[in-house]
């Protein structure tokens, strides 16, 4: 009873914050142009129109998923190259920081939603493997003078370990992205413990209580119903499991925000056109970043879904935020 009252109160406060932000006197040009569509969305939701944002456009909800699918189908081949060029390689650092915060132990099961080309999963398997090697080295070092019996025992336990080894499942709604990911895995020689599944984040094709860690990196802003995706995340995680989300967010520093906006709107579509031959998809990308809720609001959304100990860390002054929550 108290919990639901708390939830209701939090929702009311959040709604009032949103209206306050919209009518605040110091509205900058950036949020000024977002103002139109977002209030219209509020009204249309009230009227039961079921429309949502696709970048700065307003589209019917049923259409958004299709258009997002087409965007990623178009960019799949050049996705990784474009990531490197657009972020000047910094996206690798962000993903490394996600893994560092995750600190997975051998035997962990990862579900990487919107995993597409497999960046997170590859890093996960790499990390777990290096953890395993470190543990092995530690056990070897601790056994100063192993007898032949000890050595043969360890030999057998190694085999047992492989049956409990960590597994990463890459789940993505887009087959093209998964194809690119699979090719990358083949060329990198990673196959053990990796599986590729086509699935919708709003309706995951997995049973309850399956995974230790759920990650969604740079994918949740493309989901039509974020709250549904969060609820599915809660469902498929084991109790004690961790939800981690890496996503573009609001830059905290105002000077950097201006530079970031200029770079996003001026440079990125041009890069998309020159490298991938697709201006519109990258225009959608930078617009969808602006439409995604900021760090605090997203944190509340995660809490609403039922996660506990929800925290976030800003990376690169808020260009990217790493949210984390636990299912208890």
């Amino acid at each position: 009873m108290a919990a639901s009252m708390r939830l209701l109160l939090r929702r009311v406060i959040r709604l009032s914050h949103r209206y306050n932000n919209v009518t605040a006197a110091g509205v900058s040009a950036r949020s000024g142009c977002c103002w139109g569509p977002s209030t219209c969305r509020c009204f249309s939701d009230v009227a039961g129109d079921r429309s949502t944002h696709f970048g700065f456009e307003t589209v019917p909800e049923t259409e958004k998923a299709k258009r997002v699918y087409k965007v990623f189908e178009n960019v799949a081949q050049k996705y990784d190259t474009m990531n490197d060029v657009m972020s000047l390689g910094i996206h690798r650092l962000w993903k490394d920081m996600l893994l560092h915060a995750m600190h997975p132990q051998p035997g962990a099961r990862l579900l990487d939603v919107a995993g597409g080309t497999g960046d997170i999963s590859f890093r996960f398997l790499e990390y777990v493997r290096s953890q395993q090697e470190r543990q092995k080295r530690r056990t070897v070092r601790s056994m100063q003078t192993p007898s032949s019996q000890d050595i043969s025992n360890n030999y057998f336990t190694e085999d047992e370990d492989t049956s409990q080894e960590s597994r990463a499942v890459v789940c993505d709604i887009n087959k093209e992205m998964l194809n690119v990911g699979r090719k990358r895995a083949d060329s990198m020689g990673i196959s053990a413990g990796l599986s590729w599944v086509v699935g919708n984040a709003e309706e995951l094709p997995f049973d309850d209580d399956q995974f230790d860690i759920y990650t969604i990196a740079f994918g949740i802003r493309n989901v039509t119903h974020i709250d549904q995706a969060l609820q599915e995340a809660l469902r498929v995680l084991k109790p004690g499991g961790r939800f981690m989300c890496l996503e573009f967010s609001k830059v905290t520093n105002p000077v950097l925000a201006r530079i970031y906006d200029a770079y996003s709107f001026q440079m990125i579509p041009v890069l998309g056109e020159v490298i991938a031959g697709d201006w519109k998809s990258y225009q959608y990308l930078v617009e969808s970043i602006r439409k995604f809720p900021d760090q605090e609001e997203f944190k509340h959304m995660i809490e609403d879904a039922g996660f506990y100990c929800v925290t976030y860390n800003n990376l690169t002054s808020g260009v990217v935020a790493l949210h984390s929550g636990f299912k208890l």
Partner: protein
């Protein structure tokens, strides 16, 4: 001390204003685009037919973006000459003055003026291929069809214009692209590298588009020595000479001249027949 603080603060003020101006246009355009779209999105399922911009497919770009597009597409096109979309973008980003010049030439010509009014487009859906095939040999339509078959091309492979900020100039650019294949036919040049370079020299002299000039200068770098010799001794001077003296090729209503004999058309346009026959099969011999 106070004066230097004052100078620094005014500098920041101007820098901030410049920044704002550079960004403002983009945001104003975005919000305008959104409003235009919201009017339409109330009627379901019309997201494709309604467009943001001056014409279908138009994308607003700031001057800085055009400059970056020009440089980027130039590099990309040099790096991979099969990226025709990059050549197209380069043409659009750099061709503003030349397009104005071309449009004025078209306006001053009665046939060109008709084209600007009626806006014909050359694509498979508008061409009557069976009728063109039944035309006699030596007629323009028949030779054009032969060119399409010999070189295995289709008129539908031309990209749509996106970055030109004037609707009429965008049509002129589109017309230029669609007339390119017809120029191949008129000049008797195949679509191999030598033929393309020869046509580019002609177009550079005719239209003055920077993209054509760039293609004309850099294209020969990929030719073998024997073909380079051919280009510089006979084909090149012929192309340049004819480019200058020919009537504006965009001002011809080709769609109404399929039955006309090709020699007749060449004479009307003031184009000499090619001095050397360049065969399409040369492409396979590379």
């Amino acid at each position: 001390m106070r004066i230097s603080v004052h100078i620094i603060s005014t500098m920041w003020l101007y820098a901030g204003r410049l920044f704002q101006w550079l960004n403002q246009r983009q945001y104003v355009l975005i919000s305008k685009a959104v409003c235009a779209h919201q009017v339409h999105s109330s009627s379901t399922g019309f997201t494709d037919s309604c467009y943001n911009g001056l014409y279908p497919g138009h994308i607003h770009t700031t001057p800085i973006q055009k400059a970056m597009l020009a440089v980027g597409s130039g590099v990309a096109a040099l790096h991979d000459p099969y990226r025709h979309d990059m050549v197209a973008v380069l043409g659009e980003a750099t061709g503003h003055l030349a397009l104005i010049n071309l449009r004025d030439k078209m306006r001053n010509d009665p046939e060109g003026y008709t084209i600007l009014k009626e806006r014909p487009r050359i694509r498979l859906s508008t061409l009557d291929l069976s009728e063109m095939a039944s035309l006699p040999d030596g007629s323009f339509g028949r030779e054009y069809l032969r060119f399409l078959e010999d070189n295995d091309v289709t008129p539908d492979s031309r990209a749509n214009v996106r970055f030109v900020d004037d609707e009429e100039l965008a049509y002129v650019m589109q017309r230029y692209r669609e007339v390119h294949d017809l120029l191949h036919t008129l000049l008797g040049m195949p679509t191999n590298m030598l033929g393309e370079v020869a046509v580019k020299w002609f177009e550079a002299a005719q239209t003055g588009l920077p993209m054509c000039a760039l293609g004309a200068v850099l294209g020969p770098l990929r030719l073998s020595t024997s073909r380079l010799k051919l280009l510089f001794t006979s084909l090149g001077p012929w192309a340049l000479r004819n480019g200058h003296r020919a009537r504006c090729v965009l001002s011809i209503f080709y769609e109404r001249r399929w039955a006309q004999s090709i020699e007749d058309l060449r004479q009307e346009l003031n184009i000499e027949p090619p001095p050397v026959t360049v065969r399409a099969t040369e492409k396979r011999n590379t």
